[in-house]
Subunit: 643 residues, 2 copies
Amino acid sequence: MDKNNFSQHINQNRITINDPFWSKYIELVRDEVIPYQYEALNDRIDGAAKSYCINNFVKAGKIAKDISNGIIPPVYPEDKWEYTDDNCDKNSFHGWVFQDSDIYKWIEAVGFSLIHNPDNELEEKADQCIDLICNAQLENGYLDTLYIINDTSKIFTNLKDKHELYCFGHMAEAAVSYYNATGKRKFLDSTCKFADLICNTFNDNNIKGYPGHEIAEMALVKLYKATGKKRYLDTADFFIRQRGSKPYYFDMERGYDRKDDSLDYFYNQAHVEPVNQDEAVGHAVRGVYLYSGMADVARELVNEKLFDACEKIWDNIENKKLYVTGGIGATVDGEAFSFNYDLPNDLAYSETCASIGLIFFARRMLEIEPNRKYADVMERALYNCVLSGMAEDGKSFFYVNPLEVLPEASHKDSRKRHIKTVRQKWFGCACCPPNLARLICSIGEYSFTENDNTVFSHLFVGGRISTRHGEITVNSSYLDNGNVSFSIKPNESFSFAIRIPKWCRNFSISKDYELIDGYAYIKIDSECDIDVCFEIKPRIVCCSNLVRANIGKACVMRGPVVYCAEEIDNGKNLQLLRLSHEKELDYDGEFIIANGFKEKINEDLYYDFDGKTKEKECQIKLIPYCKWGNRGENEMTVYLNLR
Amino acid sequence: MDKNNFSQHINQNRITINDPFWSKYIELVRDEVIPYQYEALNDRIDGAAKSYCINNFVKAGKIAKDISNGIIPPVYPEDKWEYTDDNCDKNSFHGWVFQDSDIYKWIEAVGFSLIHNPDNELEEKADQCIDLICNAQLENGYLDTLYIINDTSKIFTNLKDKHELYCFGHMAEAAVSYYNATGKRKFLDSTCKFADLICNTFNDNNIKGYPGHEIAEMALVKLYKATGKKRYLDTADFFIRQRGSKPYYFDMERGYDRKDDSLDYFYNQAHVEPVNQDEAVGHAVRGVYLYSGMADVARELVNEKLFDACEKIWDNIENKKLYVTGGIGATVDGEAFSFNYDLPNDLAYSETCASIGLIFFARRMLEIEPNRKYADVMERALYNCVLSGMAEDGKSFFYVNPLEVLPEASHKDSRKRHIKTVRQKWFGCACCPPNLARLICSIGEYSFTENDNTVFSHLFVGGRISTRHGEITVNSSYLDNGNVSFSIKPNESFSFAIRIPKWCRNFSISKDYELIDGYAYIKIDSECDIDVCFEIKPRIVCCSNLVRANIGKACVMRGPVVYCAEEIDNGKNLQLLRLSHEKELDYDGEFIIANGFKEKINEDLYYDFDGKTKEKECQIKLIPYCKWGNRGENEMTVYLNLR
């Protein structure tokens, strides 16, 4: 870990996005997703699962007031994962245990959006939400509506399964985003009050707990950076150091004397101390949130051993547990990483949130060590799995992003019930849509980083960026034709480093450069233009033959974009299609047309093979993976059989 | 349905098996399986799951005596699937709801075994068991230890989930077998008493119930044939006619007023009336037991419509839902048939019992209509999936028979937890081992059938058979070299029909014959020898390209025997092996050696395809599928990638 290599992302308010691809997504989030999600949080969307989120804050606000007036509130059970009209009192908490986080994710997205597009009406709505939130906070700073409404005596008694520290993490991320956008301190101060309570409860009192669902670690580091209060960083470090140490805190808190611990807590990445972990395991979202926090702490405290663990885990994901789409989490059971090279296409979980978390992890690694491998994965996840999570109209969402879909299987096979064939309006457990919104609104932060000597260009999102070394204007038609031009007005001489994506075999840069770890470093002494051209053309991509699901198969990519075949373009039984590497792949600006073959259906269930396959030539029409499922329910596959 | 085509199997006591392949299996069952299972029934096997079966009969015997003396027994809940030391009173029923059936299956196997090998000691044990069973019977004929021990007031109140009629079915099959072997009437009379109660309760009183787990249908027909009592046949018919009619009996018995019945009772094949079914659905064992009973009733009552349904269901299984090994049931969820062409290799359920049930169904169809398609499937199931169910030493068993095994997946992937990598000693739910025992001991009954004009040879098991048309001695080295010779001493002229298996492309018969529906019919007028030679050589077999799991793959068969590759012979990563159809397949009397290729491992998770595959020539060593898993835990696959 070389501190000279560290870089820092450039804050939203120094970036103006103007990009043929990304601008429309940002507008979609601003015009559709954020307003839609606000309605959802308020339970005003017909036919969508109820959120109960706002309503819980209203209830908790009344109870907080009662408590401060010395009125003892009624007690309800706090023993469920999901509280519904059917299983609990109407005055008690409703929704999932982590329901509070939805409003925080919405506010975080609003913050990012307001930076680009001031909007008084939206800001007013957010302020009202913040008032609601702050009203619900107890005098000691505690804020989780489940426990405030149902039973304050049980606060912090089940870190393993309940999500108080998780909700706090999202609160902190939202508070920093909203403060950055508006300068208003109310929400940030309220968050710090809760953060202080957490620091007191755990780190200061040496109660060796840690979050069951990680995120507080990275959120505390973010809060530390926003406020300068070192105790937040120390508590993040404390959580990471306690995690997985024995006796397990999760055992102790439930009074369990463990005889055999060989198989447990992998789900929570709490099987061993993070510093000794070298494989991505368990619930995938939790995993990448932890790894992001580990990277944050490793960097801030210059902890080499912790960074080594991050690197090992990264390599494990990148080389053994990553779908070609940038998806992670191969099994629905525990929404989890499976074992190495187990990447089934039709059973994938590949949650939108997990890919978003992988991008968080990638950015942190990249800011520690400028190596294209991190940015390549970030880009892969972004253009494929993440964008697949949202419909073209921004009104419906995939939680799970499979690489192969047969509608009949989703309907009839319980093993594939998690594979939805069309996007859903809103989930009761609505982590993915607001997570998408906050990522897309902050895409600029992923595009550039800087340090004392260098500005790095990781993604090629068009726009204007004000770095500390000068102004940079990016004109990007990256996905269209691979062309990106940079107009640079430096304040001082510096080095400009452009990522050369690994997918790109040929490229040209209009200036001299030196290539280090996949970045072309260019000396900038004066105002200049740099024209970069990445050769971008469709190509056939194979998967390691250690992945059993993909033997004899391949997919088509163009640049970072993975393509897929849908039934609507290619007929039923996509498994009959056969890709030929001897034929051209044509790109027409929208589709890729592969000249391939289609096998004739063989009705005999079993037959002696005579060496011949009956087939006819055909054109296979492919669309970007992220656009699948926008034309009704139909078969889809990323991998095609290779002829 | 042409009654002239009907044939009847030849009873055990007219058959003496003397076969290089089957004799050793029959000995194994006699010397190992039957004694081992007796110990298991008595809970005397270290490390095996407890059966509790005998013990339940002891308990029930005491209670039956108390009841007859006017003493009211204590009541225990009867609301579980499995009753263990942990969840119930020690004096209550223990084990699975269907635990009684284990002793019946054991007695049935003993009956078949005694016919071939009189054994006083074994017969004495069986007689003691029968005494225990009869002691437990209530005065009105009722006999199911769960309800006798736990709560007689609940008898026949939950036909859907509890297994009283299922246990009765196995009781009847055992009673007929034991009566045929020994001539002793005690068990048969006791069974008839229970059967009479069932006829009274349901058919006579028009209570429109039917078994949740089928088997009583075919068992009642068997009992009808053994006793001549037509009411047993009528009740079998009644059960089939009531099944699936609306309002559903299963709803009525639990007092449930159903609004939407679109998706239910497929599991029990009770979604529509059997006569209107055309697809094999639901729990596979239940399915084939029902279909067997349907065929029995269709034949005995010459019910054309019911036979049509049987044929449609048969065709659906044979052409769309059958593994190449003769396994059925593609999903662990409900141990059930999946949708058409969904035949995953590594997720298969393919229960041993289901294949045994398929053989029951096949035999019944064959006895209605002599068409080789039924015998071909019978043979396929027998030599592959069924025999896979038992270890070479007869002491451990597979319940599930997958076509692909990766031990790491079985240990780490919850979706594959049902895929055991090595055979288990004994199951608490021990349906498969005793089912195997009873099938193997009665193999002769599957080999020949006869009617007024014809003797049919379906399988080619060696031995001596006394048919009503004459004596036939079979010398068979069918699996060794395809040679089978028949020495026939006729009492009268008749037609001898020899099945020509569909797998066999070339064959010779030393007599003139006429080929009808896959059978070679030979006129027998006088004592003669018939020599048949089936060309039997290894061949590459492909699967319909509608089966997604097997695109680009093939397996190797020799005659009816499916072969597989194991890691112990071929190294790890069996997916790297590639079968070549251009190279010879060599059979050395034990193994098949395929001259194929092995891909080099490609460590890059994703890479641009250049049209080349790195591979080297190799020999792929294949063993019969039924022998897999006898050399410790290792990878196994039936399907290999085709080059």
